[in-house]
Amino acid sequence: MSDEPRRLRYSLGRPIEPGTPFVDLVPPKEAGEPSTGQSSLARELRRARAARKKAAGTVDPRRRTATAPLEEDPRARRARRRFAALDPDAAVRAWFAEHGWAPFAFQEEVWGAYRRGESGLIHAATGTGKTYAAWMGPLLEWLRDYPAATRRAGAPPLRVLWVTPLRALAADTEAALRAPLIDLGIPWSLETRTGDTAPAARARQRVRLPSALVTTPESLSLLLTRENAAELFAHLECVVVDEWHELMASKRGVQTELDLARLRRFRPELRTWGLSATLGNLEAARDTLLGVDAAGRPRPGRLVRGLVPKAIGVDSLFPETIERFPWSGQIGLTLLPQVIAAVEEGGTTLIFTNTRATAEIWYQALALSGVAWADRIGLHHGSLDRAERERVEDGLRSGELRCVVCTSSLDLGVDFSPVDRVLQVGSPKAVGRLVQRAGRSGHRPGAMSRVTCVPTSALELVDIAGARTALEAGRIEARPPVERPLDLLAQHAVTVALGGGFRAAELYDEVRTTHAYRDLPRDEWEWVLDFITRGGEALRAYPEYAKAVLVDGTYRVTSRMIAMRHRMSIGTIVSESSLKVRYVRGRTLGTVEENFIARLRPGDRFTFGGQPLEFVRVRDMTAWVRKAPSAEGAVPKWSGLRLALSPELAHAVRAKLDEARRGIFDAPEMQQVRPVLELQAAWSLLPRPDELLIERTETREGHHLFFYPVEGRLVHEGLAALFAYRISQLGPITFTLAANDYGLELLSPERAPLEEALEAGLLSTEYLFNDIPASLNAAEMARRQFREVARVAGLIFQGFPGQAKSVKQLQASSGLIYEVFAKYDPENLLLRQAQREVLERQLEQSRLGRTLARLGSGTVTIVETERPTPFAFPLLVDRLREQLSSEKLSDRVRRMADPLERAAGPDVPAIPRFANLRSARPR
């Protein structure tokens, strides 16, 4: 590490003009303290942690009860003497000065606004003082309201709730919030409440909450199920929602909205502050957080602009020779030597990947590459055990780790000092993601944030070039909030029924103050009430069923079993059923999905968390493993979301392809990908912006149609279903569908009547209203989406941890439940919601309609190609496929059963039969 003191990205308090780089500033060195290359905030965090540890004695600080009186801390005593004479504003200013900071203008703006009772949203880059902008307001107010002389002993009851999207962030946040409490001698108690909180702390929090609580949306909902919820929150002044951009576009955001509406009922004067990264729709982000008033008008709130990142540089690594990009496009780890060179160029490096499996693969490749720093590489992703993740985060803070391979698990505000270099493996898929990841890097004087992309296939070069263009034009993605999910409303109604009960009209008014449910029709609300009390509607109630019951006009939950099960299932995150991975003697490594483990036999090797492992057995929801001598065998795959190209980036990619068509290859990435694009032009063509290219190819697999609207995978999935549906209306045919960010494929055993379909209006926007839902059903896309709806609405019970066996008789797949509803209650609103979600979110219906309009108004060019083109190949090898058929099932199966027609047999594990049955799963 260089001897030059690392520069901070905190500037003195003055307004930052848009586009002005951060002012670099050398932190005042403390006497005798060596230059650690850390920002003073990071140092402060460390100090706070040390203080916490010291105060806790030898007890694990995470388990320590935080109610130990702060007065005993000698630092606090000294601090009180130092700051006691000052008025609150001067004290906070002095506290900032002590750390070599001055408050930013935006921080003071927030403190002032808070004092006047305002709410709002603060947007700025990660690690630029948003936390203290939001935290100091409540502290200043308390210092003013309770001058030292009037303070009573003991911590006040809950005043501030701090909501964070990730449990992993809670510990860091708590440390950052604690520092000024200790220094300013504020006798608040501060605790964390997440899924990881120890039972003793939970029991204490059941009676009384600390003065400030750091928690997640799920844990907050859990607190609202307490019978005494209204008392617990009776003194709440402020809720801060951290990383709101991360929550707002998901059902977890809606859950937060509902919780806030509940808290505002308890405390009408409650102030709400959101912290967000830069988004394309900041006003909407603020309005979603603050909700609407009783008259349906958006609640007023301030939008505060904090420090925005200075210019961001995007560049790429390339293979040494352009021939290294095969026409098929996949290059995988080819760029490993260039990645190693890039890491060796600078200091600490973060290597971001898009999936956990990719992170595992790159980590392993780097660790085995023979570099001198092989033992100073970290791996960080969401399936690793918390202790392991924390070890890596600490390694980043201390500078021990040279390089960390990570996923979006490090996108959010885990606090560590900026690194020297950021690499992005694979397409960034969205401009905002690139900005966020770049923000983790370099703050040398005059340097700009920089991110280096590592393409893993040829066409990703076009994405990177497009991302740079979009970034320069300032086109950051908007995140649309989720509208009116009934599954979540049903869950919330049960939550409130538990937390003291509710009257129908009151809760209806309350939920309509959220942005998500502001237009909730009365009939849908009635349906939710029926759903939680009777199952079906009034006329056809479900027998035996009653989750909530109506007692004297109040909805309550009376069954202890149902209460317990509801508390276990709160939340909106749908996860594959997963197993712990643990050494036969020793620690837990993390979690993998059951699907992966089910394919392993004892003795099989696999790699997880960068460790070569040998699978021993499965017992008690745990996959027991031991260390294997060498890394061989599979890397687990997690079925997380596949990222899709954002509309902004898709637009930029189309523009880049058009430039290529006109022979313009100005970006270095475009130069690199030029041979591949020229091959595409030679075998087929590069489409004009107003031209839909359709390629038709016959292979051993059958007849392929490839369409290239270049609109991103989500839109293509919808178009694939729609096109397949419309063609299948012309006669019995079965299609297998695939979609990626560039296009879609329809594969059929016989030649599809494409020309006839185009004549009949394949691209027409007419009848879309009927054709889209019909095609979604035919392709079973709504059925897939139903899984999430069923989980949130409480139709699928994931079970108690460690007690999986006792709920065996309550296990059914969402597919099965979907069939039951489709057959016996087809009008059920949850089915309709699943469909609506596919339309609105998955397929971005409006985008789909716009795309069709664009395609329909332009020209269509059909090219018959002898073999799959560079555009077609990635679709050909994609394994995720849907089916859509207008043939009779029995006819289709008869054909499959014919040995002449049958393709290679499916690969399923052998089940022992008429033999040892112990390992067969009882049904």
């Binding site: 199952g535 027998p543 409480g794 040995p899 047999g905 039969r913």
Partner: protein, 224 residues
């Protein structure tokens, strides 16, 4: 309806798309894994599922009995899904109504793993209840497809077998199936609110899949 006639241990039987086997000589209908009252069990636990699954399955059972003119009904275990479902008034009255429609039918239940937890069906359903294996030569009626010591040919359920068919142009379809082996046969689960477990067939197994109203032989498994 297209049944499939085959010979099992020298006996002529028909594989029915209703997910049942009909044994001609004994005029017996054989079904496995009915899981009556499964949705009711869910409802009792606070999971809102619409009623009608058990009633729908009983209609299908009626149809198979009527089409074949069976005198006897062999149930190969897992009749009731769980105790809660067995107590459900709606389920019990549907089952009682079905039984009243077949007063002369001789019903035999071979206990399965779910029956051990759910308890035996009520007496007024008039069933003979036995433990597995129960021998009706040349067959051994049982729930779990465990080996039989005798020379009997086993008829079993328990696994809810499903077969993944692969066709041209990457088509795939997972279907409930009969697996006919050298020493025994496994029936598909009769209950509609049950999943399937993908099985792999051995070269000497014969697999018959159910596609809507047809039973279709999957030919030539050798070399798979």
């Amino acid at each position: 309806m297209s049944d499939h006639e085959i010979s099992l241990a020298g006996e002529a039987v028909r594989l029915l798309p209703e997910r049942a086997i009909y044994w001609e000589r004994e005029r017996a209908l054989v079904v496995a894994d009915l899981h009556w009252g499964k949705a009711a069990t869910f409802r009792a636990a606070g999971v809102p599922l619409p009623p009608g699954t058990t009633a729908g399955d009983l209609t299908r059972l009626d149809r198979a009995l009527r089409r074949t003119g069976a005198r006897r009904l062999f149930l190969l275990g897992d009749l009731f899904h769980a105790r809660e479902g067995r107590r459900s008034g709606a389920t019990l009255s549907a089952v009682a109504a079905w039984r009243a429609g077949h007063p002369a039918l001789d019903v035999l239940l071979v206990r399965g793993n779910h029956d051990r937890h759910a308890g035996d069906p009520p007496d007024d359903l008039g069933m003979t209840i036995v433990n597995a294996p129960h021998h009706v030569a040349p067959f051994a009626l049982q729930h779990e497809p465990a080996p039989v010591a005798t020379a009997s040919y086993a008829l079993a359920g328990h696994l809810h077998p499903g077969f993944v068919m692969a066709g041209p142009a990457r088509q795939r379809e997972r279907l409930a199936c009969f697996v006919i082996g050298a020493r025994g046969a496994i029936l598909p689960a009769f209950g509609s609110f049950t999943g399937t477990l993908a099985i792999s067939a051995r070269p000497d197994d014969r697999v018959y899949v159910i596609a809507d109203d047809a039973v279709i032989a999957v030919s030539s498994l050798a070399g798979r």
